[in-house]
């Protein structure tokens, strides 16, 4: 190839923009994480401007590691991401198999199934936590109320009544408590991202070699062993990709946590960073570096798994 200048010039704006976008803020975070830096301090006003003279070494990291919320935020981040991954992949596989056959109205079923993915995260969270999961006004509360009423009416029956009168009244679960709000987040994100898994698995299933399958049927392989030995290996790569992309997105999950869990003690790393940012920038930056390290560990692991496949 004769001239390399023009192709290089064409790539330069993208590379420079992304390089700046990555390095400048990250460099600042790294710097702030090693100095004492708070937004308001009456006692030590000199800490309110970033400067090398406020050097703190690894003090911020120590402080964050000892903060009681850090462990919770870290484990919660991982717990939430892992749960979502398990649910979306399993549900996604099941639904993709279900929709991957022809039946009347299949196009409409696909459209209905994919829709949740396009709902903006803020609406998703507001919709679920208020209108569906609210223990009094949401469908959750109304359903439990309805069940209790049915049981109450059954108590009037002659023989069975005594049986039902032993039943306690049901209590709706509140999804605004510390632990249950993590479940609420897992539920709403699973709802939103299962369609994504379904879509990718379905696309991949359509490229599956049908003649191989038919040969297996002729050889007398049953449905389970066909799934186990032909479909699962074929889906290995799409599964890895679904896991990778979702890990990227859900490690920085924020809007859902903010809307569902504000002030009730449930938090993940991005939320904890947000809390520190209201005053203690040093701690926020150190937490940020921990978040970067976590993301990198996950990313390296995942890119190893799928990276080679990406380029073919």
């Amino acid at each position: 190839m004769a001239n390399r200048t023009i192709p290089r010039l064409l790539q330069t704006p993208s590379v420079v923009l992304l390089l700046l976008w990555m390095l400048v803020p990250l460099g600042m975070t790294l710097y702030f994480s090693f100095i004492r830096y708070v937004l308001n301090s009456l006692r030590r006003p000199e800490w309110t401007t970033p400067s090398f003279s406020n050097w703190r070494g690894f003090g911020n990291y120590e402080y964050v590691l000892n903060a009681k919320d850090f462990g919770l935020a870290m484990t919660n981040s991982i717990f939430i991401v892992a749960s979502i991954l398990v649910f979306t992949v399993l549900l996604g596989l099941a639904l993709a198999m279900l929709v991957n056959r022809s039946f009347p109205g299949r196009g409409i079923v696909r459209v209905l199934l994919i829709s949740p993915f396009f709902v903006m995260p803020a609406v998703n969270a507001v919709l679920w936590i208020n209108m569906i999961l609210d223990p009094v006004l949401g469908l959750n509360g109304l359903a439990v109320q309805g069940i209790n009423e049915i049981i109450n009416n059954l108590r009037g029956f002659p023989v069975l009544g005594s049986f039902f009168s032993l039943w306690p009244e049901f209590e709706p679960i509140s999804f605004r408590a510390t632990q249950t709000s993590a479940y609420a987040v897992i539920m709403m994100v699973t709802w939103q991202w299962t369609p994504f898994a379904v879509l990718i698995f379905m696309t991949s299933l359509q490229s599956e070699d049908e003649s191989q399958k038919e040969a297996a049927i002729l050889d007398g392989a049953n449905a389970w062993s066909r799934f186990r030995n032909l479909t699962v290996p074929h889906l290995a790569r799409p599964i890895a990709i679904v896991v990778m992309i979702q890990s990227i997105f859900h490690l920085s999950l924020y809007a859902e946590i903010e809307i569902v869990s504000r002030g009730n003690g449930n938090k993940n790393l991005p939320y904890l960073i947000g809390e520190f940012t209201s005053n203690n920038i040093g701690a926020a930056s150190a937490t940020g570096i921990f978040a970067v390290i976590l993301a990198n560990i996950v990313a390296i692991f995942l890119l190893r798994m799928v990276g080679k496949n990406l380029m073919d």
């Binding site: 803020a122 507001v126 209108m131 609210d134 006004l137």
Partner: protein
């Protein structure tokens, strides 16, 4: 070729019915939101009006007074549109160069671009606030939101365009070169008309991602450039008494995008898997 059908008669009814039931369950929350948006706030929380009620449009007609909906919607349209255009403007030449004149480093550059997506946004929250507020003084401007939305989507744009451009035979582009067409002419007159479908679906998908972005649009704005994400997040409180109007404004915020999404399901797969699943 004869297909071998092992499905039993029961299965022929059962599986489609199950598929329909599951699809309806998944769609239910969206249906419920749209459904509730036609109830008054008072009716929306009363069990006796769960399914039987007098539909009203007042939640939609009052959307401007209740939430100042249009101001946020216009900001969303402006920022998403220009971010998409800008990302294409920067991304098309880059993807063109990578697809037709790859160097030894092209693969590394592509993977590196992808890795910028893995940087958790929250880690650079304060530096971004500091830079834009104190240093550049562009906090809460359309310009900033457009720039940020463009940057976070640029890797996906380049990857997606790259996979589309790769499918175009190199000879066609090279023939243009022989005829002495300039680089700009090659992109404008040969590449874009040939890859028009790919460019359009990249644009559509980028627009959807911009519209739904909910971290930077919330944290880097206060009023002037606030988008619909910010509007909804601001009304997150358990507004038991306002389910009707909240549903209406939510429906208005997601409706157009959900419909747009229906048209680019296939492209979504390619865009989000960086061409690895087609």
């Amino acid at each position: 070729m004869a297909t071998i059908d092992q499905t039993s008669k029961l299965g022929k009814v059962f599986w489609p019915v199950l598929a329909w039931v599951v699809a309806l369950v998944f769609f239910f929350p969206i249906f419920w939101m749209v459904f509730t948006s036609f109830k008054t706030d008072a009716d929306a929380v009363k069990p006796e009006f769960l399914f039987k009620f007098t539909p009203t449009l007042e939640n939609y007609t009052n959307m401007t007074e209740n939430y100042d909906y249009w101001r946020f919607a216009i900001n969303s349209v402006i920022t998403s549109t220009f971010a998409t255009l800008f990302a294409l403007f920067v991304g098309v030449p880059a993807a063109y160069a990578m697809a037709f004149n790859p160097s030894r480093h092209t693969k590394d550059i592509l993977v590196w671009m992808l890795s910028t997506k893995m940087l958790p946004a929250a880690a650079v929250l304060y530096p971004m606030t500091f830079l834009t507020k104190n240093f550049l003084q562009i906090f809460d401007t359309h310009f900033l939101i457009i720039l940020v939305l463009c940057l976070i989507n640029l890797p996906i744009v380049i990857w997606m365009l790259f996979t589309y451009f790769k499918e175009i035979p190199k000879e066609i582009i090279e023939a243009g070169k022989m005829d002495g067409v300039s680089t700009w002419g090659e992109i404008k007159d040969i590449l874009i008309p040939l890859a028009w479908g790919g460019v359009a679906s990249t644009a559509l998908l980028t627009f959807i991602f911009c519209w739904n972005e909910a971290y930077w649009t919330v944290r880097l704005t206060t009023t002037d450039a606030a988008t619909l994400s910010k509007l909804i997040e601001g009304n997150r409180a358990p507004e038991g008494l306002f389910f009707g109007r909240l549903s209406a404004v939510s429906t208005a915020a997601v409706g157009p995008i959900v419909v747009l999404g229906w048209f680019c399901q296939k492209q979504l797969v390619r865009g989000l898997t960086f061409g690895a699943v087609k």
